[in-house]
Amino acid sequence: MDLQSILLSLKAIVPEMILTATGCLVLLYDLLIPEENRGVHAGISAVGVITALFSVLWFGSERIEAFSGMLAQDTFGSFFTVVVLVSLLLTLMLSRSYNDWEGIQKGEFYALLLFSSVGMLVMAKATDMMTIFLGLELLSIPIYVLVGFDRKRLSSVEGALKYFLLGAFATGFLLYGMALLYAATGATSLSGIAAFAGKENVFGNTLFLAGTALLFVGFGFKVSLVPFHMWTPDAYQGAPTPVTAFMSAGPKAAAFAAVIRVLVVAFPESHPFLLKGLWVVAALTMTVGNVSALVQDDVKRMLAYSSIAHAGYVLVGLVSGDRLGGQAAMYYLFVYSLMNIGAFAIVMLLSEGEERGYAIENFRGVGFRYPVLGALMTVFLVSLGGIPPTAGFVGKFYLFSAAVKKGLILLTVIGVLNSAASVYYYLRVVVYMYMLPERAEEVRPRPVGVGVALALFIATVGVIALGIFPKGLLSFAESSILSIFLS
């Protein structure tokens, strides 16, 4: 590699570099300031994230093959970079207040969030199994720590340990899958695998098939598909709420980015068996997630199960196996991030801290006492339930119409039925907020700080505006998916 190409390669990872530098800055600055001022790290981090966002908008559409084909910057990568950065930004806005309330205001928190996001960005851009793995690990390890960040709270530590143990286990599968694929094809790059698959009859090649299966086990764990979802409710419930919100958005989007890229680039003539297998997984994931969410009485846990179901919806787009499905999945991942972080933000505000928990009982009658919070929660839940005119509806409509176009009628029926059932538990919260008398002891929501207010504003406007004017984001998703379909 000559200097020229190294410089060019560096251009492909500008957002990563900005986030890394911001993370280091936060760690260093943490040493200089007194404990009570540590909230300022949220601001510093946010500035870094916004700078990174601008850098993406500035030259994110240019296609660059970087580091000898280990990584590529293209519109596809930029799309997911935007998803991750927006989720990160919203999370930072929530974290500052939350950490104050829970007494876990520390610089490392923000640095870990930033470093983890670097992993996500790497994963979204990776064009080689090595970089995918690198990104995944860089993503995961800080998240394990963040889940257990509130180390005095038992549920936090418990969730972190479970997530870590199982995550390590799943990583083993992923790595083993990659090794088998390498053994079968002699390549680690996605295009190398594709070239091999184009020449040989891979479908009789046991090594290749086993490698593929194990690869998807690893991915399935990260995006919590059934039956690899078991860790999700515990980890989501134990994690500090802003971290939960982030986990349901950023890492999931990044892992899906890798799945989509692998599917499109490495297996262009998708193995019909593979898609059929994913079909079953999608149906199972939607159903198990929704059925389990139906019977939850804890809103945070309910949202955890619901996030499993949503991974299933996104998978429906991938099962469609064409451009339209991929595009729909990408659109959905973006809007899902907005509405889910929004919902977690309100949950965080309306509850009285992790100690008191998030029982649905706590939501009785708060809709009238705090109409704005209630109304916003309704918007997010309605969107999660896929009711028009919100972005959640447009997203689901897109996913299912892509499936219908491919003739996946049964899967669509299962999806729509699931979606109809899910509205029950989402709107159950609304019923508690608006239709039941208040508890004797009044819930006093935490004061809404500027950051939280801004995050809520962005999420709400996004959910509604993308529901009514989805065109811009859709064409962004379209050009993104084209950028890997054509390359």
Binding site: L209, P227, M230, W231, F273, G277, P371, V416, A421, V431
Partner: protein, 681 residues
């Protein structure tokens, strides 16, 4: 000039914004202050009707006056704009009476494109006039009715929002946008049913409405996807011509058409409260009475009828679906009417009556007489809104009392309410000359004579007409005639409602009387202008209708008409006999047939049956499924396999390591299955 059509939905939306600001920044702080004052004084929250606290400054704040003006006036202005638009449309020759206003592209991908666009044709013209016209009157009435409510601005926000959503529904140019309106009116309806959220019954009713409608919406969404899959579009202007083309080419088979239309009809049964999904509507009466009048009688519940009529081309392709629609409509008309006989709550009688009348409209659609269905939709909007508002006026005067057994003799206390209520009763009973007569008679005749009809449908409708006349007059006689049975305190209190409430009653009364004149059938010397106006909408579908097998004579038509009138008269006489002449009779009958009375009075125990065979099992089932996944899969099979894999001795260790171990085994099993599937599958 027709481009001003966008103002029709936009004006109510403006009302939402203005009233929303007032609710948020004026009403809420005042309410909170009052709440804390009451807490300090140790005053308990007064009853839901808020009498006794009117002297609080809250009720004299200027924001209330402003809401009283903006709330109704935006809807009034929308009515005016709608009227102008319709008049312009009517000036055009019949075949050019279609106007589509594209506002912006909503969803576009490949060749699929759906726009936010408004679609004005004779059918939507009728709907927007009914929605804004009746809606305006109900808004005005609400100013008086809700004057003592704490959440006054909030109420108007919801009501304006509902009007906006309903206008989107009827003006939508495609199924997707129609679905947007469909869901949004549902949401407003739950919010308004649960308006008095302190009442448990109110919030339960909101929940019930919500869950029942989920079933319907599921059908609707699937129908929409299937339609999209088959025809490749969801825009009205493309779907119907294309469907006809495919029908002629044979690529759209009757089986698919049946599936699409049945699924859409499932949606309609939910929204329009038909068997088996009607159970939510009677409970929805927990909301404020004007809401019942607007949403649960005049507009929202008719959305299903509108949707079926809009899709007439598709429905006419499937005689099977039409038969299903007609059977369900006819059965609902009769079934709900019989329940109405044994109810004592004024609003509940009216609720079952609404379900029954909606059944008539579906009966009409089911026999292919869409015009008659829409005609009845319109006249029903007039007289049923009037009946509800009348019952609201009674309720207002009697401090919330709705039990007709405790009324009696109200005629002399509330003359305006009585006379308007009476006229509406005549209209719904089908007394010649009143609006309901023309529309109901049209339906009955078409049920008899249409190629899709049959004598059974006619019989169902006619028997239901008899029962309708009976229960309506039972209510009128018990409430307004005879000796008063009011308690002494109530007798002091009873008064005629203020002008702001009675004037809308009078206007609606006029409409209930003359509203049918637009559709006088030729046999009575009219020219049925209503039918001709709607003709272009149903023209394409009409090509699919087989030629009538028989030709019926005019004398038969006249004969059936006279018979229907006699039947109604018989119903009225029976009510007179039972409740005026021999008031002891009903009790005796109930004694003589205790089982029958019990079953009817308890609404055939349908709620209980649903609870036993649907609600409870579904709940148990989901708990069961969850347990299966969590307990059986994790602890059972997984541990079993785990034991096999790791040796039985490990089972003890599992208890120490907790669930992580089992989670990991589940992961492992999943991996084994996936690998095995890919290699051997």
């Amino acid at each position: 000039m027709l481009r001003i059509l966008w103002l029709v939905p936009a004006l109510p939306l403006l009302g939402v914004i203005i009233n929303g600001i007032l609710a948020l920044f004026f009403e809420r702080p005042l309410l909170l202050r009052k709440y804390y004052e009451d807490l300090e004084k140790g005053v308990h929250e007064e009853d839901s009707h808020g009498h006794g606290a009117e002297d609080h400054p809250l009720f004299h704040h200027w924001y209330r006056q402003l809401v009283s003006i903006t709330g109704p006036s935006v809807v009034g202005a929308a009515f005016f704009v709608a009227l102008v638009c319709v008049l312009i449309l009517v000036k055009r020759p019949p075949h050019e009476r279609v106007f589509q206003l594209d506002l912006f592209t909503w969803i576009q991908s490949g060749e699929f494109r759906t726009a936010f666009s408004l679609y004005l044709d004779p059918l939507s013209s009728v709907m927007i006039l009914v929605v804004t016209g009746v809606g305006f009157l109900i808004h005005v009435y609400s100013v008086g009715y809700m004057a003592h409510e704490k959440g006054y601005a909030r109420y108007f926000v919801y009501l304006n929002l509902f009007t906006f959503a309903m206008l989107v529904l009827v003006l939508a140019s495609n199924y997707l946008l129609l679905f947007v309106g469909w869901e949004a009116v549902g949401l407003c309806s739950y919010l308004l049913i649960g308006y008095w959220y302190e009442k448990k019954s109110a919030s339960d009713a909101g929940k019930k409405a919500f869950i029942v409608n989920r079933v319907g919406d599921f059908g609707f969404a699937l129908g929409m996807f299937l339609l999209f899959w088959t025809v490749g579009s969801l825009n009205f202007s493309e779907v119907f011509p294309k469907a006809l083309e495919m029908w002629e080419a044979g690529t759209l088979t009757p089986a698919v058409a049946t599936a699409i239309t049945l699924l859409l009809f499932v949606g309609a049964t939910g929204k329009s409260a038909q068997i088996p999904l009607y159970v939510w509507l009677p409970d929805a009466m927990e909301g404020p009475t004007p809401v019942s009048a607007l949403i649960h009688a005049a507009t929202m519940v008719t959305a299903g009828v509108y949707m079926v009529a809009r899709s007439n081309v598709l429905y006419l392709m499937s005689p099977t679906t039409l038969t299903v629609v007609a059977v369900i409509g006819g059965a609902t008309a009769l079934f709900a009417a019989t329940i109405g006989v044994a109810q004592n709550d004024m609003k509940r009688v009216l609720a079952y009556s609404t379900v029954s009348q909606l059944g008539y409209m579906f009966l009409a659609c089911g026999v292919g007489a869409f015009t008659a269905g829409i005609f009845h939709l319109m006249t029903h909007a007039f007289f049923k809104a009037l009946l509800f508002l009348g019952s609201g006026s009674v309720m207002h005067a009697l401090a919330g009392e709705l039990d007709i057994r405790k009324m009696g003799g109200l005629k002399k206390y509330m003359p305006v309410t009585f006379w308007t209520f009476f006229l509406a009763t005549l209209a719904i009973s089908g007394i010649p000359g009143f609006s309901g007569f023309f529309s109901k008679d049209e339906i009955l005749w078409r049920a008899f004579s249409s190629p899709f009809g049959g004598k059974v449908f006619w019989l169902l409708g006619t028997v239901a007409a008899f029962v309708t006349a009976f229960y309506m007059f039972r209510m009128v006689f018990l409430a307004f005639f005879g000796e008063t049975r009011l308690s002494p305190e109530l007798k002091e209190h009873v008064h005629e409602s203020p002008k702001v409430m009675t004037v809308p009653l009078m206007i609606l009364a006029v409409l209930s009387v003359v509203g049918g004149f637009v559709g006088i059938p030729p046999i009575l010397g009219g020219s049925n202008r209503f039918e001709h106006f709607l003709e272009p909408v149903f023209e394409k579908g009409a090509e699919l209708v087989p030629a009538a097998p028989h030709h019926f004579s005019h004398s038969l038509e006249l004969g059936l008409m006279v018979l229907a009138v006699l039947v109604a008269a018989a119903g009225i006489y029976l009510a007179y006999h039972f409740y005026m002449k021999k008031p002891e009779l009903p009790g005796k009958v109930a004694e003589k047939y205790p089982v029958l009375y019990d079953v009817v009075a308890n609404k055939y125990y349908v709620d209980e049956i649903y609870h036993a065979i649907v609600v409870y099992p579904v709940y148990r089932f989901s708990v069961f499924l969850w347990e299966v996944f969590d307990v059986l899969v994790v602890d059972g099979i997984v541990n079993g396999v785990g034991r096999v894999l790791l040796g039985t001795g490990q089972a003890v260790r599992r208890l120490q390591t907790g669930v992580v171990h089992t989670y990991a085994v589940s992961l492992l099993i999943g991996a084994v299955i996936l690998v095995g599937y890919l290699i051997f599958g």
